[in-house]
């Protein structure tokens, strides 16, 4: 038996800001050791030196593809700490924007999955279609990716005039594109060959390794914070949590495709039922929450995104801890890659939707 050590990353077209030390015997991976930390920016420490409001742009930096999802938990935690009541309209807008971001993040994932499997058309299509949603988001939130839109007490601005029509048009366009993705990629015989039965994570292993998000739901466990502990307006929404039993790369892909459909469902409901009223609770700009600790979690695009904040009554948090879904999915890497083909390495890698910046923080 002769082993070859391959260092996949951090400068490798298929690695991202991340290194995977892979030992192969022929074409079979003997063991894979993840080596994260290349983009550690000390965001948790930096957050201790900024005011509560100033932390919002900082905390969405780890996940720019899903910036609302990453900052949502923080905003909820601060509100819990300061005891702010959130107006109904603000809750609805937040849920809608979080779901919009989830769709964008999943489209991004789909595009990169295409390029990871050598399917260049799948790389281009979702990126082009994502642009429609980015334009929509820009109309509401002002920027393309890093919105800083959620603030403690509500959202930064109200919806623009004529937003409902624009949103409906964008969502309808997206729904018309989803069957085409299925036709060229998801139902492509070569795609199913490459992903079915590859990287199987059974439900007991998923629980043991502590994975979250679509990875967990792809293993047949129906767990989602939006249903389990509804926050904001999620308890008034009618949507399903998709989960698939097989636990392979294919079922993880189906979970994300299905989640896009569920998110469009939620957005449609909100556009119909959004109440009028203030979009933000009245409160001082310089927040000084009372002493105490608070934990809050939300379901971001990649899974459970949790914050733990301790306040000593100052204008900046005393301690801020992030539990990010990518980091929690990291233990699945060595487990899933052991014994698989080298060619399955990118398939498994991206089926977990691993985002190095989010894991390193």
């Amino acid at each position: 038996m002769s082993e070859l050590e391959l260092s996949i990353g951090p400068q490798h077209p298929g690695s991202g800001h991340f290194r995977l030390i892979v030992h192969v015997d022929g074409d079979i991976i003997v063991r894979a050791t993840p080596d994260p930390g290349y983009v550690h920016r000390g965001i948790e420490k930096q957050a201790e030196y900024r005011e509560y409001l100033q932390n919002i742009p900082l905390l969405e930096r780890p996940v720019i593809s899903d910036s609302n999802g990453s900052v949502y938990g923080y905003v909820l935690a601060v509100e819990k700490l300061a005891g702010v009541e959130i107006p109904q309209r603000a809750q609805y807008i937040r849920v809608m924007m979080a779901e919009l971001n989830r769709i964008m993040s999943h489209l991004y994932w789909l595009a990169i999955y295409g390029i990871f499997l050598g399917h260049s058309t799948m790389f281009m299509w979702p990126f082009g279609d994502r642009e429609v949603l980015i334009d929509l988001a820009q109309r509401v939130m002002g920027t393309r990716l890093t919105y800083s839109f959620f603030v403690p007490g509500g959202v930064r601005t109200d919806l623009p005039d004529g937003f409902k029509d624009d949103a409906l048009r964008a969502i309808t366009f997206l729904e018309s594109r989803l069957p085409e993705y299925d036709a060229i990629f998801i139902n492509n015989p070569l795609f199913t060959q490459r992903t079915k039965g590859v990287g199987v994570l059974r439900s007991e292993d998923a629980i043991r390794l502590g994975v979250v998000g679509p990875t967990l739901r792809g293993s047949g466990i129906n767990a989602d914070v939006r249903k389990d502990e509804p926050y904001d307006a999620y308890d008034q929404m009618d949507f399903d949590i998709p989960s698939f039993q097989e636990g392979d790369c294919y079922s993880r892909s189906l979970v994300r495709i299905e989640e896009i459909k569920q998110s469009t469902r939620i957005i449609r409901q909100i556009l119909e039922a959004i109440p009028s009223g203030p979009f933000r609770a009245k409160q001082p700009a310089l927040l000084k929450p009372p002493k105490g600790s608070v934990y809050s979690r939300v379901e971001a695009a990649r899974g459970t995104y949790a914050y733990f904040i301790t306040s000593k009554g100052a204008k900046a948090p005393y301690r801020l801890k992030i539990s990010s879904p990518s980091f929690r999915n990291l233990p699945a890497f060595p487990f899933l890659m052991k014994g698989s083909h080298l060619a399955d390495m990118p398939t498994i890698y991206w089926s977990l939707d691993y985002w190095p910046l989010e894991a390193d923080r």
Binding site: P13, D27, G114, S120, N188, R194
Partner: protein
């Protein structure tokens, strides 16, 4: 035809038409055409600015850019073999051009064993790739080179066997007489299985999608091409596209009746038109399919294409018996 002395005519055939000059022009056009075609599939624009028409000069601009770049040889590489390998690939590809007539009067050679020589040249190319991979002294290059070796050797067999059907039916190994024997019916109608096997084996031989396993970029960077840059990379790519063109012409002449076609269009033009269609057909998978895994590629080659090519030979033998 103009009456030049025969040595001059030979020189013109080798250098201008149908030899080097025309082929390289066609290859440059193919590069542009592939990019445009793929862009259309992917709802993009593709090359746009170089040249008056839709960026048609983009391949030339790219080639000039590659020419101007520094030639980088990795410190630990075997310098001589590293620099020799691209030239070797180019030599093997260009030699194929001598064997493919565009019509009886526009033929550089009409060897009585032309198909056999073409197969021999094709089966030499893994050697050049393994040399390049080994000389690069890079783990990813080595893996890519070995993948290419496995892929090409296992697909060379169905490739040769699918040609065997044509050879049996035409009773000759010369491409000119193979085309002439299709005067009544094109071989693609008589042996469709053989045509499909040849088509797929050609895709594998050319490392095109879905068989681009040796250069799977998310696994092994660029496979055996990883360390090549500048004009060395340009030569490798040109060699690959010349081989692509040559194999498309060979497919046209084995199965699609080469230069046979109605009168107003001259015979060489018929070959070119049909080749263009074959080239398009071979480019389309790139917009539609993801990459196969190496074990799936083996499975397809050994358990489907090889038996199918044998079935094709049996069918051909029966047809020859029955039709005479």
């Amino acid at each position: 035809m103009l009456a030049f002395p025969e040595p001059l005519m030979d020189a013109l055939r080798v250098l201008i038409f149908p030899g080097l000059g025309f082929s390289l022009m066609f290859v440059l056009f193919m590069v542009w055409y592939e990019r445009k075609l793929l862009a259309k599939v992917q709802v993009r624009v593709g090359p746009l600015y170089a040249g008056r028409f839709e960026g048609i000069l983009q391949p030339i601009a790219d080639f000039i850019k590659l020419l101007l770049k520094e030639i980088i040889v990795p410190r630990q590489a075997d310098r001589l073999l590293f620099l020799l390998a691209p030239t070797m690939m180019m030599g093997l590809s260009v030699s194929l051009l001598a064997l493919i007539p565009l019509s009886p009067s526009f033929a550089i050679t009409d060897s009585s064993v032309g198909v056999l020589i073409a197969l021999a040249l094709l089966s030499l190319s893994p050697l050049a790739i393994v040399i390049a991979a080994w000389a690069s002294n890079n783990k990813f290059s080595l893996i890519g080179g070995l993948r290419a070796l496995h892929q090409m050797t296992s697909y060379a067999i169905p490739l040769s066997f699918s040609i065997l059907g044509v050879v049996i039916m035409a009773g000759s190994l010369s491409l000119v007489s193979i085309v002439e024997s299709q005067r009544n019916t094109w071989f693609v109608l008589l042996q469709p299985i053989g045509a499909v096997v040849f088509f797929l084996a050609t895709l594998a031989e050319l490392e095109r999608v879905p068989f681009d396993i040796p250069e799977a970029e998310t696994e092994i960077v660029m496979g055996w091409e990883t360390e090549y840059s500048g004009i060395n990379y340009g030569i490798i790519m040109t060699a690959a596209y010349v081989k692509f063109y040559a194999l498309a012409v060979i497919f046209t002449e084995l199965f699609l009746g080469g230069w046979l076609g109605p009168a107003p269009i001259p015979p060489p033009l018929w070959t070119i038109i049909k080749t263009f269609l074959v080239v398009t057909l071979m480019m389309i998978p790139r917009g539609v399919y993801p990459r196969l895994r190496i074990d799936q590629m083996f499975k397809l080659g050994w358990t489907w294409l090889l038996p199918l090519s044998l079935v094709n030979i049996a069918v051909v033998l029966v047809e020859v018996e029955v039709l005479g």
